[in-house]
C-alpha cells in the first residue's frame, strides 16, 4: 500500500513540479537559489517589522505573530479547499489514476500528499522569513527556532487535513447546485444583497463629518486592537502560537499532536466510503438530464430565436455569465462606499464638482470593463460559427441578438446599482444620480457596439475552438483599453462641464454621450453589413 501511494504521489508531483535526474548537480544550485531567496525575504521581513514597530507604532509582539499565523493558514485553507475540490473530484487525471491498480483511498491519500508538499514549500517562503525575522529582532532562544522547524512539518498537515475534510460536503453541495441553476442564481442574488447590507452596516459606522487623518488613526487603532483580540480565537493556531513562544509548552504540544492525528484518522475513515462516489458524481457525463415534457415554442422571427438562444446559454452556464459581469456586480459597492466617504467630508463647492467628476470616471471604468462578453461574442461561437453560416437565413441577426442580451443584462445591473445608490445615500442630490445614470447607459451602449465591432473585425474562432479559453484574448484586452480611454475622456470633459460651464454641464456630458452612441451604432451597422459574411474560421 505504502509503495503504491509513493508511486502515485511521485507520478502527480512530476506533472506539477520540476524534477531533476538522479545525481544531477543542478539540484544543488536550485536549493542554493531558494535558500538565498528565503534569507533575503527574512531580511526584508525584519525591516518591515521594524517599520511596523517604530514608525507605525503597531505592537510587534507574540499576539501579532499568532494573528499572522491565523491569517496565513486561514488563507492557505481557503486556497486549498478551492484547489482540492478541483483536484480531488474534478481533475482530468482522475480518469487515468482510477484506471491504475490502486485503491480509491490510496489515490485520495496520494493527492493529499501532493498538496502537503506544495503547502510545505509555500510555508517555507512565507512563514519562515516572518517567524525567523521576528525571532531575530526579539532575541528569542534556541527552543523557539527548534519549535519552528517542528511546526513547519505539522502546519501543512492541519491546513490540508481541514481543507480535505471541508471539501467533501462542499463538493456534494456544489454538485447539487450545479444541477439546479435557479438555486445557483437565487444564492448568488442573496449573497450579493447580504454583502451589500453588510457593507452598508459597516460603512454607516464611520462617524461624520469625516476627517481623513482622524479616520486613518481610528482605522489603525481598530486594526491593532482587532489583531490582538483575533489572536485569542485562532483555536489550534492560537495553541501553536503559544507553544512556539514557550507558554505551557508540553500541554500545547500534546494538543497539537492529538489534533494532527485526529485529522488524519477522520479524513481517512470519512473519505473511504464517500470519495469515489463524490468523484464519479462530479464528472460532467454523470449529470442526469431532465426529461423534456413539452416541445418548446417555435418562433418565426429569427432575431427572437437567437435572443432566446442567448438566454438559454446564460441560464445553462451561469458561472460564465457571472464571470463576464462580476466587475459590474461591484458597482453598487464602489458607488456606495466612495460616495458615503465623499458626502461625509465637509466639502467646498469645488469639492462637490470633483465628486461628480470622480463619479463619472469610476462608474464608467467599472461599466465599460464589463462588456467583454460582446468583445468575444463571435469568438465564443468557435467551430459552430461555420455551421451557423451555412444556414439559409440572414444570420447577422445573431449579432443583434447578442448585443440585445448584453444591453439588457448590463442595463438591469446598472439600474439596480443606481436604485440601491439612491436609496442608501439620500444625501447625494437625486437629480445628479439620475443624470449620471442616463450618461452611463448611453456610454455603456456605445461601448458595447464598439466592443462587438472589435470582435467582428478580428474574431479568434480557431483559437477558441482549439483552446476553449478566452483568457489571453486580444479583443478582450482592446475592449477594456477602449473602456479605460473612454472613462478618461469623459472625465476630462466632466472637468470642463462641472467646473467651468456648470449650468450646462450635464447637457454637454449627456449630449456627447448620445453623439458617441449614435456614432458607434452607425459604424457598427456599417461594419456588420460589410464584414459579417466574410468572417472565416
Amino acid at each position: 500500500m505504502l509503495e503504491r501511494i509513493r508511486i502515485l504521489t511521485l507520478l502527480q508531483l512530476s506533472n506539477k513540479s520540476r524534477l531533476y535526474v538522479k545525481g544531477s548537480k543542478r539540484i544543488y544550485s536550485h536549493i542554493a537559489i531558494r535558500f538565498a531567496i528565503i534569507v533575503a525575504l527574512t531580511v526584508v521581513v525584519s525591516l518591515l517589522l521594524h517599520v511596523l514597530k517604530n514608525i507605525l507604532y503597531i505592537p510587534v509582539n507574540e499576539f501579532l505573530m499568532i494573528f499572522i499565523l491565523i491569517l496565513t493558514q486561514g488563507l492557505s485553507i481557503a486556497v486549498s479547499i478551492i484547489g482540492l475540490v478541483s483536484d480531488l473530484y474534478n481533475s482530468k487525471d482522475n480518469q487515468i489514476l482510477f484506471s491504475l491498480a490502486a485503491k480509491n483511498d490510496e489515490i485520495f491519500i496520494s493527492k493529499l500528499l501532493v498538496y502537503y508538499v506544495n503547502e510545505f514549500i509555500r510555508n517555507l517562503f512565507l512563514l519562515v522569513p516572518i517567524f525567523v525575522g521576528f525571532g531575530i529582532i526579539s532575541n528569542l532562544g534556541i527552543l523557539y527556532f527548534l519549535s519552528l522547524i517542528f511546526i513547519l512539518v505539522f502546519l501543512p498537515i492541519i491546513s490540508v487535513g481541514i481543507s480535505a475534510f471541508i471539501s467533501m460536503p462542499l463538493t456534494s453541495l456544489i454538485n447539487y447546485i450545479k444541477r439546479h441553476n435557479l438555486l445557483s442564481a437565487i444564492l448568488t442574488f442573496i449573497f450579493v444583497i447580504t454583502l451589500f447590507y453588510l457593507t452598508y452596516a459597516i460603512v454607516s459606522q464611520i462617524p461624520t463629518p469625516i476627517r481623513i487623518v482622524q479616520l486613518y488613526n481610528r482605522f489603525t487603532l481598530a486594526l491593532t486592537l482587532a489583531i490582538q483580540k483575533i489572536a485569542q480565537f485562532g483555536t489550534i493556531y492560537t495553541i501553536i502560537g503559544k507553544m512556539l513562544f514557550g507558554f505551557s509548552y508540553l500541554l500545547n504540544l500534546l494538543i497539537l499532536v492529538v489534533t494532527v492525528v485526529a485529522l488524519i484518522v477522520i479524513n481517512y475513515f470519512v473519505s473511504k466510503p464517500v470519495y469515489f462516489k463524490l468523484m464519479s458524481f462530479s464528472q460532467e457525463n454523470t449529470i442526469n438530464k431532465s426529461i423534456v415534457k413539452s416541445k418548446p415554442l417555435e418562433s418565426k422571427n429569427l432575431f427572437i430565436t437567437f435572443l432566446k438562444k442567448e438566454f438559454t446559454i446564460a441560464r445553462r452556464s451561469l458561472n460564465e455569465l457571472l464571470s463576464n459581469y462580476a466587475l459590474l456586480l461591484t458597482l453598487p459597492f464602489f458607488m456606495y462606499i466612495l460616495n458615503y466617504i465623499y458626502m461625509g467630508m465637509n466639502r467646498s463647492t469645488f469639492g462637490n464638482s470633483v465628486v461628480l467628476i470622480l463619479n463619472v470616471i469610476i462608474t464608467l471604468l467599472i461599466v465599460t470593463g464589463s462588456n467583454t462578453a460582446s468583445a468575444t461574442a463571435i469568438t465564443t461561437e468557435g467551430y459552430e460559427f461555420v455551421l451557423l453560416k451555412t444556414a439559409p437565413y440572414n444570420t447577422s441577426k445573431m449579432a443583434w441578438a447578442k448585443i440585445a442580451f448584453n444591453l439588457f443584462f448590463t442595463a438591469i445591473m446598472i439600474t439596480f446599482s443606481f436604485i440601491l445608490f439612491s436609496q442608501a445615500l439620500p444625501v447625494f442630490p437625486k437629480q445628479n444620480i439620475w443624470l449620471l445614470y442616463i450618461l452611463v447607459l448611453f456610454v455603456n451602449a456605445g461601448h458595447i457596439f464598439w466592443s462587438f465591432q472589435i470582435d467582428l473585425l478580428s474574431p479568434k474562432l480557431s483559437d477558441y475552438a482549439t483552446t476553449g479559453s478566452i483568457s489571453h484574448n486580444q479583443n478582450v484586452s482592446k475592449s477594456l483599453s477602449y473602456g479605460l480611454w473612454l472613462s478618461i475622456f469623459f472625465g476630462v470633459i466632466a472637468v470642463f462641464a462641472f467646473v467651468l460651464i456648470k449650468p450646462l454641464g450635464w447637457y454637454l456630458m449627456i449630449g456627447l454621450a448620445l453623439i458617441f452612441l449614435v456614432f458607434r451604432l452607425y459604424f457598427f451597422q456599417s461594419y456588420l453589413k460589410a464584414y459579417f459574411n466574410d468572417i472565416e474560421y
Partner: protein, 148 residues
C-alpha cells in the same frame, strides 16, 4: 489589459479620489483655541502617600486578554487637545483613541510573564498638562510604600 488590472486600477483610483477630495475639495476646519486645563484619570484602585494612582491588573491581564483600557477626562470638554502617551516599559504598546478619550495598554507575552509594573503618562502636547497611572500585578499582602 485584463479585468484584474482594471479592478486594481479602480481600487487605486478610488483611494486617490478620496485623498483628492480631502486635500482640495474640503472646507477649512473650524478649530477652536480653547486650551486643555486638566487631564484626569478617574478610575483607579488606590493611591500612595504621594498621590500616585495605582490600578491592580492581576485579574484583568492574562495571556488570554492582553489589553487594558484607561479612560481619561479632559477639561474643559470642548478643549482642543493633542494627546501623547508614554510608558516606562518597551514591552507594552500604547494606543490612543482621542475621540473616545481612551488609552489602550497592550501587553506582550514577556510583560505578562514577568508581571511588569508600568507607569502610563497621558499628556497634552500643547499645554504639557498630564496625569499618570501605574498598572501593576499586585500580590496579596503587599503595601505601597511611599518614596522617601
Amino acid at each position: 489589459m485584463t479585468k484584474k488590472i482594471l479592478f486594481v486600477l479602480v481600487l487605486v483610483f478610488s483611494v486617490f479620489s478620496i485623498i483628492l477630495i480631502a486635500v482640495w475639495g474640503t472646507l477649512p476646519e473650524n478649530s477652536n483655541n480653547i486650551q486643555v486645563e486638566t487631564i484626569v484619570i478617574n478610575e483607579y484602585d488606590e493611591t500612595n502617600d504621594n498621590g500616585d494612582k495605582f490600578i491592580n491588573v492581576t485579574d484583568i491581564i492574562s495571556k488570554e486578554n492582553n489589553i487594558f483600557t484607561i479612560n481619561y477626562v479632559i477639561g474643559p470638554e470642548n478643549a482642543n487637545a493633542d494627546i501623547v502617551v508614554s510608558t516606562t516599559d518597551k514591552d507594552v504598546n500604547l494606543q490612543v483613541d482621542q475621540l473616545d478619550n481612551k488609552v489602550y495598554v497592550i501587553y506582550s507575552f514577556n510583560a505578562i510573564d514577568q508581571m511588569k509594573t508600568i507607569t502610563v503618562q497621558i499628556k497634552d502636547k500643547d499645554t504639557q498638562n498630564f496625569d499618570e497611572v501605574t498598572l501593576w500585578f499586585k500580590t496579596p499582602g503587599v503595601i505601597i510604600v511611599p518614596e522617601i
